[in-house]
């Protein structure tokens, strides 16, 4: 047994008071979970502490919270680990982000998370005719979608999605991972329509900023961002979808710039995303217009020295052997002849293969 102190974010909507912090000290073995600690505080000291919970074993997805600022399931976080992560040894628990708080640690998932889930037509639109027995489909495809089926709808990824913070309309990591579950399912009849819809939506697959927060947040290894990237690959390479958000052109420009320079060339990225994937893109009218529109951002970037006038004219230069190393990565991937699928159920984690 050891002592741990919890600092809980409390909020009572009926009191008229602002949210506040409250501390409880509990006794548990260090490998027990933060949820068990909260339940002990609730059982011994204050039954009014509000938290959704049910299975205690990271299966039902009820107890998503932020622990020391990071989203996770309370039942899935060990006390010793949480205490070590905290700056003052006190385990701080607060409600998830990006969703309105109802009471204490309980957030309104219906208002944000479930609305977004419903946005992606979250049911199978089965190929016709429906067979008498099962659909015969390749074994790997069902193993593949298991990774997104493993999502327990806990909302941890939604909580800390940076793109959603900026654009609350962003469909977001959980719902897009759900979308992959249908796009990756050979029984579904609407792959193109789904992808087209999600590519054309300004809050769709190209709204993701590739920040990896959802991959870190997910307690079930769903890796929502990887699923979003797989939606992009399928949209671009399998269905040739060129979208009005310039998502596809942006990706192509990004990839070829890194191939060419070994690093991203920011000054070239914007014009190429709009004017086409060539050094002459900046002279195209479409690029000119967006460059003009972006002048305030460009000015800000110059002021903050994110780019310098010199760098615009003279791109990054990598040492020769480094540039060659980057090129070898491209060659290896191109040479594989098949797409590199981000799926632990098929490829295993790195450590699995050791």
């Amino acid at each position: 047994m050891a002592e741990f102190t919890l600092r809980l974010r409390r909020y009572d909507p009926e009191s008229g008071d602002a949210p506040y912090w409250e501390e409880h000290t509990i006794e548990l073995e260090p490998h027990r979970s933060v949820l068990e600690a909260i339940l002990q505080a609730k059982a011994r000291f204050d039954g009014s502490i509000g938290i959704r919970c049910s299975c205690r074993a990271a299966i039902c997805g009820s107890c998503g919270v932020r622990i020391n600022g990071h989203p996770d399931l309370a039942c899935h976080t060990h006390l010793d680990k949480a205490a070590k992560q905290s700056s003052d040894g006190v385990i701080e628990v607060e409600p998830m982000g990006n969703m309105p708080v109802i009471k204490d640690l309980i957030v309104d998932m219906e208002e944000v998370h479930w609305k977004k889930i419903r946005r992606v037509t979250p049911w199978l639109i089965a190929k016709q005719p429906v067979p008498e027995r099962e659909y015969i489909v390749p074994r790997e495809t069902m193993v593949d979608v298991t990774q997104s089926m493993a999502c327990i709808q806990c909302g941890a990824c939604v909580s800390d999605c940076l793109a959603m913070e900026v654009d609350p309309e962003f469909i977001g990591p959980a719902a897009l991972a759900k979308a992959y579950r249908f796009v990756g399912d050979p029984r579904d009849d609407q792959h193109y329509e789904r992808l087209k819809d999600l590519a054309e939506d300004p809050h769709g697959i190209y709204d993701c900023t590739h920040c990896f927060m959802c991959i870190d947040a997910c307690p079930k290894g769903v890796a929502p961002m990887s699923q979003i990237m797989r939606l992009r690959r399928r949209a671009i390479h399998d269905h040739g979808i060129v979208d009005r958000n310039n998502g596809e052109r942006h990706e192509e420009a990004f990839v070829s710039l890194v191939r060419q320079y070994g690093l991203l060339n920011e000054a070239e990225l914007l014009p190429r995303s709009y004017g086409g994937d060539s050094a002459l893109a900046k002279f195209k009218p479409a690029a000119g217009k967006v460059l003009l529109d972006s002048l305030p951002s460009i000015a800000k970037a110059l002021l903050r020295r994110k780019v310098t006038p010199a760098a615009v004219l003279k791109p990054h230069k990598l040492a020769k052997q480094d540039l060659q190393a980057v090129k070898r990565i491209y060659e290896t991937l191109d040479g594989k002849g098949e797409r590199n699928e981000f799926n632990i159920y098929i490829s295993g984690r790195d450590e699995d293969n050791q």
């Binding site: 009926e14 059982a43 039954g47 049910s54 099962e134």
Partner: protein, 564 residues
């Protein structure tokens, strides 16, 4: 106030399947649950769903295995229905999107499971319940215009009309605290079991026997309540479930001598004998000093014999559970387990259409007792039970509703429940805390009403539960608010659990034989002459449980000696 043809309470697999069936048959449906539907405990069902779909299999073999598994207490007419309709139901699930694993030919793959004579279990890795539950919820979202969802609503009681028919329910909107009467031509209970009467248990915190107790309180009989399943592989430390799929994939059980002791108890099926048999074997090994761990209270489950690639593909969830909750890498070392409370075979007595003896009230899934599981449920038959009898209940209730007008429920009933809640909230800070009573109940049940039972222990349990019932009437709570007052719901749930525990204990005392999950040290033999019958418990006028009996339906399989 809301009025529907069919009101479903509970949104796990049974409830959601009932809702979809009723909606498809043209009913106006409401489905209500105290948690969001995908949090329902069906989500934790890991291993799979049984259906005789292999070319060399036949539903009658599945039915025989189920009858034998039930120790011949299961009703064979209902078992025949369940097993013969299983292949169709599995295909239906496949067609609406469940991502069942495939074999190399692209057909549904099947894994071995306990008590089964063939590989018969379709699965999605070890998240089968989750996969099916989420797919059914996809369908509920799809049919949002015909199925109204009341998510995070807590039913407080069932209502009878003047004819004594069930005519709706009273419920509390957890989010606002508002109370509401729901009129309904039929009510279907799909609210799960009462595993929380035990500590530890594999069951979620929400499994507090709400529906079982609510039905009992309005005079509905409960059946087979003494039959409580202990799962052979639950984590020694905290009782979390390790799926039977692990043994289905080939894992071994080892005692402190490193020996596969199941060869002494079930030489043919070994680790894949019925759950009651394996749990008893483990408990015997532990009791005789061949347990493992510091206190000798554990048994080793060795999954390292299963190929690693297969573990990662088909048992990934228990890799996580081992790592996160036991600090064990199951691919490298054995994990310490022991038998733990898992499932309630008994429940609200129903026929094979889900109808209870109270007109208008149906039940399906763990809350119900059809009885297809009898004395012991086979692994992967519970998902099947929820779906088959959930669907049949939904269909039957819809057909029945077409012939009748909306019943007149006495709306004044709402005041009783409002008063009941006010009374709890207003209790003085004396007496015991709800959590203390719940803890004592769970620990006591796990000591006296477990794998091995006897008259002395059961009598002690009965006395304790009486005292706890008394203490519960004055137990106080801290939360006096309306919004998400989980404290007051906990107090109501405690009352439900105590009713369930009491009926379990009196049934276990009454059954003076050993059959299925009930093993009486003082009556160690099965006694077909006197006890091949169901125990029914009804709430008497004095509030005390009254026992009666009903016959077991036998269609084609006469009781025989049960060996694995």
């Amino acid at each position: 106030m809301p009025a529907h043809d069919v009101l479903i309470i509970g949104a796990g697999l049974a409830g959601q399947r009932a809702a979809l069936a009723a909606a498809e048959a043209g009913a106006a449906v409401a489905i209500m649950s105290k948690v969001h539907p995908v949090r329902s405990h069906s989500v934790a069902a890991a291993g799979g769903i049984n259906a005789a779909i292999a070319i060399d299999d036949d539903w009658t073999e599945h039915a025989y295995d189920t009858v034998k598994g039930s120790d011949f207490l299961g009703d064979q007419d209902a078992i025949e229905i369940m097993c013969s309709e299983a292949p169709g139901e599995a295909m239906h699930l496949e067609h609406i999107g469940v991502t069942f694993h495939r074999n190399e030919k692209g057909e549904l793959d099947l894994r071995a499971f306990g008590g089964a004579s063939k590989k018969r279990t379709a699965y999605v890795a070890d998240i089968t319940g989750q996969a099916i539950l989420h797919v059914l919820y996809e369908q509920l979202m799809r049919f949002h215009d015909t199925v109204e969802r009341y998510e995070e609503w807590f039913a407080t009681s069932l209502i009878l009309d003047e004819k004594g028919h069930c005519a709706g329910a009273v419920a509390r909107d957890i989010r606002s605290g508002a109370m509401e009467i729901f009129d309904a031509k039929s009510v279907i209970l799909g609210s799960g079991g009462n595993g929380q009467c035990y500590k530890p248990t594999t069951n979620a915190l929400i499994c507090t026997g709400d529906g079982i107790a609510q039905a009992y309180q309005i005079g509905c009989p409960l059946m087979d309540m003494e039959m409580v399943q202990y799962h052979p592989t639950t984590l020694a430390e905290n009782g979390f479930l390790i799926t039977e799929g692990a043994r289905g994939e080939g894992a071994h059980l080892l005692n402190s001598e490193g020996r596969r002791f199941m060869e002494d108890y079930a030489p043919n099926k070994m680790e894949l004998a019925s759950r009651d048999v394996v749990s008893r074997a483990e408990q015997t090994e532990i009791n005789e000093g061949r347990g493992v761990g510091a206190d000798g209270q554990g048994i080793y489950l060795d999954i390292t014999v299963v190929p690693k690639k297969r573990v990662h593909e088909a048992l990934r969830e228990i890799v996580n559970i081992g790592r996160d909750f036991a600090g064990t890498d199951i691919t490298r070392e054995p994990i310490m387990i022991r038998p733990g409370q898992h499932y309630i075979m008994g429940g609200v007595k129903t026929d094979s259409n889900g109808q209870t003896p109270i007109t208008g009230l149906y039940a399906a899934g763990e809350v119900a007792c059809v009885s297809v599981h009898g004395g012991n449920r086979l692994g992967a038959n519970s998902l099947l039970d929820t779906l088959i009898f959930g669907r049949r209940s939904g269909e039957h209730a819809t057909a029945r509703g077409k012939e009748m007008a909306m019943p007149k429920a006495p709306h004044a009933r709402i005041h009783d429940d409002v008063a009941m809640i006010d009374q709890i909230v207003g209790r003085e800070h004396s007496g015991r805390r709800i959590s203390e009573i719940k803890d004592e109940l769970g620990t006591m049940m796990n000591e006296y009403v477990a794998v091995y039972r006897d008259e002395d222990g059961l009598t002690k349990a009965h006395e304790i539960v009486h005292r706890l019932k008394d203490e519960a009437t004055s137990a106080y709570i801290d939360d006096h608010g309306s919004v998400f007052n989980q404290d007051v719901l906990g107090a109501i749930e405690l009352g439900y659990m105590l009713d369930c525990a009491e009926t379990t204990i009196v049934s276990a005392i009454d059954r003076k034989e050993s059959r299925g999950a009930q093993f009486r040290l003082d009556y160690p033999e099965r006694n077909d002459d006197e006890w091949l019958k169901h125990i029914n418990v009804t709430r008497g006028p004095d509030g005390e449980p009254q026992i009666s009996y009903s016959p077991v339906t036998i269609t084609r399989w006469q009781p025989e000696v049960r060996k694995y």
